[in-house]
C-alpha cells in the first residue's frame, strides 16, 4: 500500500471513529411526519412577559392521562418549576376537564425586575404515558415552537 493510500485510510478511520452517535432515525425524521399525530398530542404554551408574568397553558388528551388523577395537575410543581433570582408569587391554577382532554392554565407573577434562569418542565415525570408534547415558548423578544419526544434527547424543531 502506498503512503498516500495508508494516510487516506487512516484519515477515514479516524473520522469514522470520532463521528458522534447520531440521534435515532425516528428523532431526526420526526418533523416530517409530525402532522400525522397532532390529534393525540399534548400541548404546552408558555408566555413570559416583560412584567415578569409567566403564563402556561397545558392541554392533555384523556388517553395520555391513563390512570393519573387530573387533580395532580392542580399543583403547578407537578408540571413546572421556576428557577429565579427572587421568589415568585404562588401561581394561580385553573383546571378544565372535558370528555376528551384536560386543560390547565397556570400564571406565576415573578416581578418585572426578577431574573428567570430556568424553567423545568416535569410533565414527563408526572405523566408516565406521555410520549410527546408540542411546545410553544414566547419570551418578550422571541418565540420558539418545537416538540419534545420521550425517545429523543433534543428538541425537534421545524415542525411547520
Amino acid at each position: 500500500m502506498t503512503n498516500s493510500k495508508m494516510l487516506m485510510s487512516l484519515l477515514c478511520f479516524a473520522l469514522a471513529a470520532c463521528a458522534p452517535e447520531q440521534a435515532p432515525e425516528f428523532c431526526r425524521n420526526h418533523a416530517l411526519f409530525h402532522d400525522e399525530h397532532l390529534d393525540s398530542l399534548a400541548s404546552l404554551n408558555v408566555t413570559m412577559t416583560e412584567e415578569g408574568i409567566i403564563r402556561s397553558e397545558l392541554s392533555i388528551p384523556r388517553s395520555v392521562m391513563a390512570g393519573v388523577p387530573s387533580v395532580l395537575l392542580e399543583e403547578s410543581r407537578n408540571v413546572y418549576l421556576l428557577q429565579t433570582e427572587n421568589e415568585c408569587a404562588k401561581p394561580s391554577v385553573i383546571l378544565i376537564e372535558t370528555d376528551n382532554s384536560v386543560t390547565a392554565s397556570y400564571e406565576s407573577n415573578c416581578g418585572a425586575d426578577n431574573k428567570i434562569g430556568q424553567l423545568d418542565i416535569l410533565l414527563f415525570e408526572t405523566l408516565p404515558s406521555l410520549n410527546e408534547v408540542e411546545v410553544t415558548v414566547t419570551t418578550p423578544v422571541t418565540q420558539k415552537h418545537f416538540a419534545i419526544n420521550r425517545q429523543c434527547d433534543r428538541a425537534i424543531f421545524r415542525l411547520d
Binding site: 418542565i121 423578544v141 420558539k144
Partner: protein, 464 residues
C-alpha cells in the same frame, strides 16, 4: 532549529536566464499561476477561519458551550490572528512564501480537526488562538508574493483580484458549510463536527495546492526582479537587511501621530460591529428572527458579498469625487453602514427588507473598512512607514474585534433562559436569549466609529 529556519528561508537566486524572450514567457506564465493560486489558496484557507461562526448555534444548542464560552473561544482566534498578522509580517518578508503559507494553512487544518474533538473550553480556546496565529500566515505571504511578481503600478489591480478570496472563503463557509449542518431539506443535517472536518479537508487541499503551485521569488527561477523586468523603479519588491533593522524605529514614529490614534480607535470600534455581525449575526437571525441555519448564513453571506463592491466604490468615490480626501467618503459610507443597521435590528421584520438592509450594510461597511483599516491611515502616515501604520491599525482593529466577541458572548449569556424537560436521564433543553443589550453595543460602536472618523475632517494626506 536551523533546519526549520532553512526550510522556511527564501530560496537562493538561480543563475540568470539570458534569453529575454524566455524571461518574458516565464514571467507571464508564473504571474498567471501566482495570482490564481494565491486567490484560490487564500479563499480555501479562509474557510478554516470562519467555521466556528457557522457551528456556534448547534454547539450552544447541544449545551457544549455557553454563549459566553463561545464568545471567549471566538475572541481567541481574533487575538491570535492580530498577533499572527503582525509578527508573521516580519517573517514573511524573508521566507519562502510557498512553504510559509502552505504550512500555515496545513496547521490551521489540523487545528480545525482538533476543534471537532474538543468539548473543553480551555482546550478549544487554545486551539482556536493557535488557528488565529497560523491564519495570520496567509495575508503577509500573499502580499509578499504579490510584491515579488507584480510592479507597484499594477499591484492595485492584482491586490483587488486577490481580495476577492475573502468572499470566496465566506461564500464557501456561509453557504457550503451551512449546507452540511443545516437540517433537511435545506441541508444535510450532519453533526456540528462536520463544520470543522470539512474546512480541515478543504485546507489540506489548499495547503497542497499552495505548496505545489505557488512560486517563490522570480530570482529563484533565474528571472530578474519585478522592478528590473517591468522597468518600474518604484517596485522594490523586498526590503534589504538595512531596511529590516529600521522597521521597529519607524513603527515608533507612527505612535507620535495623534490622528493615527484616532483612526486606530475608529477602526477598532468599526471592527466591533463588523465582527459582531459576522460572528453573531447568524446566531441572532436564528435565535430571534426564527430563520433556520441555512437561511441565516445566506443572509450573512449577502452582506459579505456586497462588500466586494463597497471596497471598489469607496476608492473610486473618494478619489474621483472628493479629490482623494477620505473624510467626506468616510461619512457617506459610515451612514450607509449605520442606517441599515438600525433597519436590521429595529426595522420591519420582512425578509426582503432584511436582505436589502444587509446588502447595503455590507457595501457601506466594506467601504469604511477599506478607509479606516488602511487607506486613510496610509494617507496620514509618512509613506516610508506605511506598513507600520497598517500594522498599528491592524492590532487595534483585531483587539476590538476579539474583545467584542467575548463581551457579546457574555451579554448574550447573561440573558439566557433555559427550558429544561426532565425525561429520566435525558433532559432536552431549549435556550432563549435576549439580544437587546448586545445590539446596543454593536450599533453604538458604529456610531462612535463614525464620530471619531468625522473628527478628522480637516486632516490632510501627506505626500511623502
Amino acid at each position: 532549529m536551523n533546519s526549520i529556519l532553512k526550510f522556511f528561508a527564501a530560496g537562493t537566486d538561480a543563475p540568470r536566464i539570458a534569453d529575454p524572450a524566455e524571461v518574458d514567457r516565464l514571467y507571464h506564465y508564473h504571474r498567471r499561476k501566482v495570482i490564481f493560486i494565491l486567490t484560490l489558496g487564500y479563499g480555501l484557507g479562509y474557510v478554516c477561519r470562519l467555521a466556528f461562526n457557522v457551528v456556534k448555534k448547534p454547539i450552544m444548542d447541544a449545551g457544549i458551550f455557553t454563549p459566553e464560552e463561545v464568545g471567549f473561544i471566538g475572541s481567541m482566534l481574533l487575538y491570535g490572528y492580530a498577533a499572527g498578522k503582525f509578527g508573521n509580517g516580519f517573517l514573511a518578508d524573508y521566507a519562502n512564501v510557498k512553504r510559509f503559507f502552505a504550512v500555515g494553512i496545513l496547521m490551521s487544518a489540523l487545528l480545525n480537526f482538533g476543534m471537532s474533538l474538543s468539548t473543553v473550553v480551555g482546550v478549544s480556546a487554545l486551539l482556536w488562538a493557535l488557528n488565529g496565529w497560523f491564519q495570520g500566515f496567509g495575508a503577509p505571504s500573499s502580499v509578499v508574493a504579490l510584491s515579488s511578481w507584480f510592479s507597484s503600478h499594477e499591484r492595485g489591480r492584482y491586490y483587488g483580484i486577490w481580495s476577492t478570496a475573502h468572499s470566496i472563503g465566506e461564500g464557501l463557509t456561509y453557504l457550503g458549510i451551512a449546507f452540511l449542518i443545516a437540517v433537511p431539506p435545506k441541508g444535510l443535517g450532519l453533526p456540528w463536527q462536520w463544520g470543522f472536518w470539512t474546512p480541515a479537508a478543504v485546507c489540506v487541499v489548499a495547503a497542497f495546492l499552495l505548496y505545489r503551485y505557488l512560486q517563490d521569488r522570480p530570482q529563484t527561477l533565474g528571472l530578474p526582479s519585478i522592478a528590473e523586468w517591468s522597468k518600474d523603479g518604484s517596485a522594490n519588491a523586498r526590503p534589504d537587511a538595512h531596511d529590516a533593522s529600521r522597521i521597529w524605529k519607524d513603527q515608533l514614529k507612527v505612535l507620535a501621530i495623534p490622528s493615527m490614534w484616532v483612526i486606530a480607535l475608529a477602526s477598532s470600534t468599526m471592527y466591533i460591529t463588523r465582527y459582531a455581525i459576522n460572528s453573531w449575526g447568524n446566531v441572532y437571525l436564528q435565535e430571534i428572527r426564527g430563520f433556520d441555519l441555512f437561511d441565516a448564513n445566506l443572509f450573512i453571506f449577502l452582506n459579505t458579498a456586497a462588500g466586494i463592491l463597497g471596497c471598489v466604490a469607496f476608492g473610486y468615490l473618494s478619489d474621483k469625487m472628493f479629490d482623494a480626501r477620505r473624510p467626506p467618503a468616510n461619512l457617506i459610507f459610515a451612514l450607509l453602514e449605520l442606517v441599515p443597521l438600525f433597519i436590521i435590528f429595529y426595522g420591519p421584520t420582512n425578509s426582503v427588507v432584511l436582505a436589502i438592509a444587509l446588502v447595503v450594510y455590507g457595501f457601506g461597511l466594506s467601504g469604511i473598512l477599506a478607509s479606516l483599516g488602511g487607506l486613510f491611515a496610509i494617507d496620514i502616515a509618512p509613506k516610508r512607514v506605511a506598513g507600520a501604520a497598517m500594522g498599528f491599525i491592524g492590532i487595534f482593529s483585531y483587539i476590538g474585534a476579539g474583545t467584542q466577541d467575548y463581551i457579546s458572548g457574555k451579554l448574550i449569556y447573561d440573558s439566557e433562559i433555559r427550558v429544561v424537560f426532565s425525561i429520566g436521564e435525558n433532559s432536552p433543553t431549549v435556550y432563549f436569549y435576549d439580544y437587546t443589550i448586545p445590539i446596543i453595543f454593536w450599533v453604538g460602536a458604529s456610531v462612535i466609529s463614525m464620530l471619531l472618523a468625522a473628527s478628522l475632517w480637516r486632516v490632510k494626506a501627506r505626500d511623502q
